[in-house]
């Protein structure tokens, strides 16, 4: 039982085109329907105390999203999961929840994300050739792409934000890339921007078929940690 929980949820194919702010409202309304004893912010426009780990871009599916929620009274994680899953729409499921009792919220803790990106090249490329292409890309010190920043579109070096990339050939011209990328409030590299850089640098004109978030990580003491492991400091 706890007044604050950290929970993990998934978003499937059928809701992948819903924008992040709309997903936020889906949660707010589902929470309201759930009748859980929600905590609200003080002031003119009271809001639920709900914080998401990392925004989900349009088109992204995920099996590992995280959020923190606060209550007025203690709520058991299993009660939370049960009542939320009966009030959430199809396409979003709460997978797990743990007690949370730190001041640092999930948004400040997330530092990395793991993606699976399905892509299709124009021509048949061998696994070997693709490995070489990726190797050449990763051996560069700088990869500049235009990124939308607060000051407008700016060229940004994303190379330091790519922690690892690997690719597996599925058939003919269809590949599955696994990308481990910097994420979070600072230095966030989105999967679609990575693919834009990939195409720009390799000239492959690969089409992105699917983007899926496999995991989010927090880091502490120089190691990657599951966000649940840092839910209690």
């Amino acid at each position: 039982m706890a007044k604050a929980l950290r929970f993990k949820f998934s978003r499937s194919e059928q809701l992948k085109y819903i924008a992040h702010l709309d997903i936020l409202r889906v949660f707010e309304r589902a929470l309201k329907r759930s009748k859980l004893p929600l905590a609200y912010t003080q002031g003119f426009n009271p809001r639920q105390k709900l914080v998401f780990g990392l925004p989900m871009s349009i088109g992204l599916t995920s099996e590992a999203e995280y959020a923190d929620i606060e209550f007025e009274q203690d709520v058991a994680p299993e009660d939370f999961i049960r009542s939320m899953n009966s009030s959430l729409p199809e396409g979003i499921r709460i997978l797990e929840a743990v007690e949370q009792n730190i001041n640092d919220n999930i948004m400040n803790q997330i530092t990395a994300a793991k993606y699976e990106i399905g892509l299709e090249t124009r021509e048949d490329i061998s696994q070997n050739e693709m490995d070489n292409i990726l190797h050449r890309l990763l051996s560069r010190d700088e990869i500049f792409v235009l990124k939308k920043t607060k000051k407008g579109m700016r060229p940004v070096n994303i190379r330091p934000w790519i922690y690892s990339l690997s690719i597996r050939k599925k058939e003919m011209n269809s590949f599955l890339m696994e990308a481990f990328l910097s994420a979070g409030a600072e230095n966030n590299l989105r999967a679609d921007l990575l693919m834009q850089a990939f195409n720009q640098e390799t000239g492959l004109e690969a089409k992105t078929l699917a983007m899926h978030r496999k995991a989010l990580y927090a880091s502490s003491f120089n190691k990657w940690q599951d966000p649940f492991e840092v839910a209690n400091g």
């Binding site: 809701l15 409202r25 707010e28 309304r29 309201k32 329907r33 003119f44 009271p46 009030s87």
Partner: protein, 598 residues
Amino acid sequence: MVKKNPEEVSLRFAFCFPDDYEIGMSHLGMKIMYHVLNKREDTYCERAFAPWADMEALLRENNIPLYTLETYTPLHEFDMVGFTLQYEMSFSNILNMLDLGGIPVLSKERTGNMPFVLAGGPCACNPEPIADFIDFFVIGEGEEVTPEIIEEYKKWKGSGESRDQFLERIAVIEGVYVPKLYDVSYHEDGTIKEVKPSSPIAPAKVKRRLIRDLDAVDFPDDIIVPYVGTVHDRIMLELFRGCIRGCRFCQAGFIYRPVRERSYEKLLDLAQKSVEKTGYDEISLISLSTSDYSSLPDLCNNLIKFTESEKVSLSLPSLRVDNFSLGLMEKVSKVRKSGLTFAPEAGTQRLRDVINKGVTDEDLVSSVQLAVAGGWSSVKLYFMLGLPTEAMEDVEGIADMGINLLEACRGLPGEYSKALRITLSTSCFVPKPFTPFQWEPMDSMASLMEKQYHLKDRIKKRTRRIDYRYHDAKLSFMEAVLARGDRRIGQVLYAAWKKGCKFDGWDEFFSFDKWMEAFRECGIDPEFYANRKRKFTEVMPWDHLDMGISKDFLQHECQKAYEGDLTRNCAVGCSQCGAQAYKAGICTKAKRGASENG
């Protein structure tokens, strides 16, 4: 979203909104009918909206017919495809949606087991411009008549009878209008000679349906909650239908008579259940004039207790400004006080009397002073240009009213009294069927534009604290043609749609030139419909519909308008408009008497 197995129902109904999703999902009528239809086990009602141009291009490119959102079923597979007619400028979207849905656009080309296409809603009170495309219309409120139609459909389905036989079955239901059962003949001057039934079954006058007791019909508390933000993204509580005021330009003020209220106990119950089932954090009270709801204090006091404890905000549109309503807004407002909107409609007292808008300059000044002293920082005022009998001094009165208000608020307490912003907004008056102005010519586009420029100029010369906005006269002209058009307009609509007209209510799509080309090709003069003064004796294209308002009353109101003679509202006393025949709502209540003339 309601889920059913389509195999297990007798009737599949596609409710189509001829505008985009964000508009359509804001429409209360659709939510009501969706609820009423889906409550029936034998019926599955699904929704479809007009796809935006990019989506339409993809649908056409990939040969995907327009489908419903519930089961992705193409429109042509439904038993009935129903459109709601909220705005004349969405008519072209109806044709486009039928075409996209794989249904022949013209009613006469539909055969066999193709869907029946029906339409209802306020614009159905003149159904003639779209009579070529719609198999039958539902005139009036749909909650009770639609189930009657469904029962007939079930009897017809599998009976081996023809499509026409189904239409004949339902033509006898009160509130159903089957246009193909009526012949229209014309005089040489182009006016209508006669509209008469071509079948002995069809009634000479189709009577509008109405719900006598709102508490007795179902109102949805389990509405669909959209993922994306819609225009009205909140719980809507319908306080009452109809309006006691009788402003002479306002179609809604006549075609929904008499006023019938929902009890406040019922509304409170609906509010609580709706919040519970939807999770919305906002409730809006819906009616044509919230202040006229007879139990408003009881409703609001109880509602506020509930909304405060549930962290729900309450919005109160269509309120007249007085101490009570400002106090109320103060209590319920969870957002910053930003803008208040008033609708004096005309710039001089004379013209406001013509339109029976019982608002005086003093009312307005004191309302705005109250608002500004209460901390509101901007005020928006809505007017119409081109009202009957309007002269240039009435137009100038609009600018003068804005300036007077600025001056009247100078030196008031309230942080914004010195920085008050006023927006004056003018639309173009469009004469509508079943109003006292149904015989009036619409002002010409040239004259409307001249008035707009004159007003702009007059305001700019005097102050910078007034912002002036105006509507496109060309769009209003088209609205005027469609609003009072007859069956011959159908071919123009068809030609315009063929030229690509759609989403005509949207600036980025509306093409006046394409419409004018369509008129030229069809040899039809749009000014005949928009700008011609009609005689009281002329047969109107909608005369075979009985909306419950007598033509004599409308004519009398029109004559009173010329004299600037006010008509009392229904709460004060009855003016014998014809709606008393329904013996419902306010018509059955005691009147306050002639002491008040508001």
